[in-house]
């Protein structure tokens, strides 16, 4: 079996074997781990979807958004509104209608933002996301303000109402079943994003990232492609927000506040934004890191900040990039 590819990283066969192994482990997890660990990993998978979407813009199109909390929060609040004001409990309804809302807003925000690049793009995404934050914060009679809106799993149904969570053992059933629900969607999202990034469209995005001028001289309309990437990116992150809120049970304006956008960037860079799998790994690792940091010290932000400094200065290619490099060295130069 060939073990290396042209760039010195692991070959396709090896990668597929690895993916299969991980998938098996993920499916087996709730059978061997306790409720807490299962729920924790569910959070990790949700953030992985968010980071996957985010990285379409950063890693593949070369646009750093500092306002992705907007789509995550919008997805979460959409679901919460549907619970609060329409009495809906079906997860599928949350997803379908939540995605529509997020897609519309991403399209609008994206249209405004992609007319600029680099710093001004980042600032615009930040400013627009904070518009949503202040609305959530100030219009407290609609959004619950800082108290937020509750989304209890007791009224939730999955798979068109086939699965609900009432009665005894409901919490365990919820954690268990919701994990598989999220895992399934995570796999779908990963597969979708894989196809998108490896499609001619994905190649065009990378061309725009690498050399905007040349891409134009190939006949690629820069703004249109960036906008489409923005739309897709926001939608993925919005889906993550929708999936997050039943897990968290509550949505507050914190999820729209700009430091959360920073966390999304952090987790993507942690995993390595120049690779496909980087955001996924980064999100899962970041989730564990953050959880244990919060549990072990009051000053967990300091810890995360220190990690980020080390990451940026010493390991800019993130976990995946570093693994690739180490693997290349261990197996000899190609």
């Amino acid at each position: 079996m060939q073990t290396k590819n042209a760039r010195g990283g692991p070959s396709t066969a090896l990668m597929l074997a690895g993916v299969a192994a991980i998938l098996i482990a993920l499916i087996a997890l709730p059978q061997i781990a306790d409720v807490y660990q299962t729920q924790l990993l569910t959070y990790g998978l949700v953030f992985a979807i968010a980071a996957l979407g985010f990285n379409l813009l950063l890693g593949f199109t070369g646009l750093l958004s500092f306002g992705h909390s907007a789509y995550f929060g919008l997805g979460a609040y959409s679901a919460a509104f549907m619970v609060r004001y329409l009495g809906i409990g079906s997860m599928e309804v949350f997803i379908v209608f939540g995605l529509v809302i997020v897609a519309l807003v991403s399209a609008a925000f994206g249209y405004i933002c992609v007319r600029h690049t680099r710093i001004f793009f980042g600032i615009l995404t930040l400013a627009l996301s904070q518009v949503l934050w202040t609305l959530a914060y100030k219009f407290f009679w609609v959004t619950g303000g800082t108290d937020g809106l509750r989304v209890a799993f007791g009224n939730l149904t999955l798979v068109g109402g086939l699965i609900d969570f009432k009665g005894r053992g409901a919490y365990q059933a919820f954690v268990h079943n919701y994990y598989y629900y999220v895992l399934f969607l995570f796999c779908v999202c990963t597969a979708l994003m894989w196809v998108i990034t490896h499609s001619p469209f994905g190649k065009a995005l990378q061309a725009i990232r690498d050399n905007e001028t040349r891409a134009q001289f190939l006949g690629i309309q820069i703004r249109r492609y960036r906008w489409l990437a923005f739309l897709i990116s926001g939608s993925f992150t919005g889906l993550a927000g929708i999936l997050w809120v039943p897990l968290n049970g509550l949505v507050t304006p914190d999820v729209l506040y700009w430091p959360f956008s920073g966390e999304i960037v952090f987790m993507t860079v942690l995993g390595g934004f120049r690779s496909f799998a980087g955001p996924i790994i980064g999100a899962v690792v970041f989730n564990y890191l953050r959880t244990y940091a919060v549990a072990s010290t009051e000053y967990w932000q300091f810890l995360l900040g220190a990690v980020l400094v080390i990451l940026v200065i010493a390991l800019p290619t993130g976990i995946v990039g570093t693994i690739n490099r180490v693997y290349g060295k261990l197996t000899g130069r190609s």
Partner: protein, 291 residues
């Protein structure tokens, strides 16, 4: 009419603070092309240091001593900046600017918890400083004289900065380096020294903003995060890298926000962000900015 006068004074007071923060942010960007996400946290740090120095360390000292200690926050933050630039920022100058953004975000996280650790979770105040100056009559109402001092400091800072940048030798060096770093370096200018001084000066301004605001407004956790967004709005409207822009932007933001809080409290912030977004759409470099 009297309410309007008070509102006017409040707006100018608020604008002075915003100007101090935004001028620092703009200076750092203008010279070093770095967007300092930790700038708000540095402002907060200045507020905390001053509040702690006056309110805790020197509590009970005569009033004139307390006033003398006001700039403590500004100086502390400037020193901090002089330490941060060579350690955290310099290693990244040859990297894409996304990395610089990330390291300043990391700095924000570190600073926020450092303030929590050093100063605790309870708001810190400066005790009798603001009351000692009393109030002055304004159209039948009474207005804190301290706020007028702050306005004066804001104007003085604007004047000083302008003179420093446009009238001194170092100012020329600063402007040359900001326009063309490579050329400046090739001409023999010590770019490293320019950068650390520019960063320290920008930090000083932020710290000064915090130092002068804290007698009027207690130092609380999270004030920096909120302040950064407002500073961004100011420099977006005024133009990143422009001193006049920071001044005009601060005035616009301060007046709009004060008026909005009075009449449409729910959307006061949203209005500001939307103005920023509109300016970015129409004139991306801001009112006074260069590309």
């Amino acid at each position: 009419m009297d309410i309007l006068a008070i509102q006017f004074l409040n707006s100018v007071f608020y604008a002075s603070i915003l100007f101090l923060i935004a001028a620092g942010l703009s200076l750092i960007y203008g010279v070093m092309r770095i967007v300092n996400l930790a700038h708000g946290s540095l402002y907060a740090f200045g507020a905390y240091v001053t509040a702690w120095t006056i309110g805790t360390l020197a509590a009970g000292a005569p009033i004139w001593v307390l006033f003398l200690l006001l700039p403590a926050g500004a100086i502390a933050v400037a020193v901090l900046g002089a330490l941060i630039e060579p350690t955290l920022l310099r290693p990244l100058y040859n990297r894409p600017e996304e990395y610089q953004l990330l390291v300043t975000f990391a700095l924000l996280l570190i600073l926020e918890d450092s303030m929590h650790y050093l100063f605790g979770g309870v708001p810190l105040t400066t005790g009798p400083v603001i009351d000692s100056m009393g109030t002055i009559p304004v159209l039948g109402l009474r207005y804190p004289a301290y706020n007028l001092l702050v306005i004066f400091i804001g104007i003085a800072a604007a004047g000083f900065l302008w003179a420093f940048i446009y009238r001194t030798k170092f100012g020329v060096i600063l402007r040359a380096t900001s326009q063309n770093m490579r050329m400046a370096s090739a001409l023999g200018l010590n770019v490293k020294r320019v950068y650390v001084l520019a960063f320290a000066l920008g930090c000083f301004m932020a710290g000064l903003g915090g130092a002068v605001v804290v007698p009027a407004q207690a130092a609380v956790l999270g004030m920096g995060i909120e302040a950064l967004i407002l500073a961004f709005v100011v420099v977006v409207i005024g133009g990143l890298g422009s001193l006049e822009g920071a001044l005009i932007g601060a005035l616009i933001v301060a007046f709009v926000r004060t008026a909005a809080i009075q009449y449409f409290a729910e959307v006061e912030l949203a209005v500001l962000y939307l103005i920023a977004a509109i300016v970015l759409l129409v004139k991306p470099t801001g009112l006074f900015g260069r590309a």
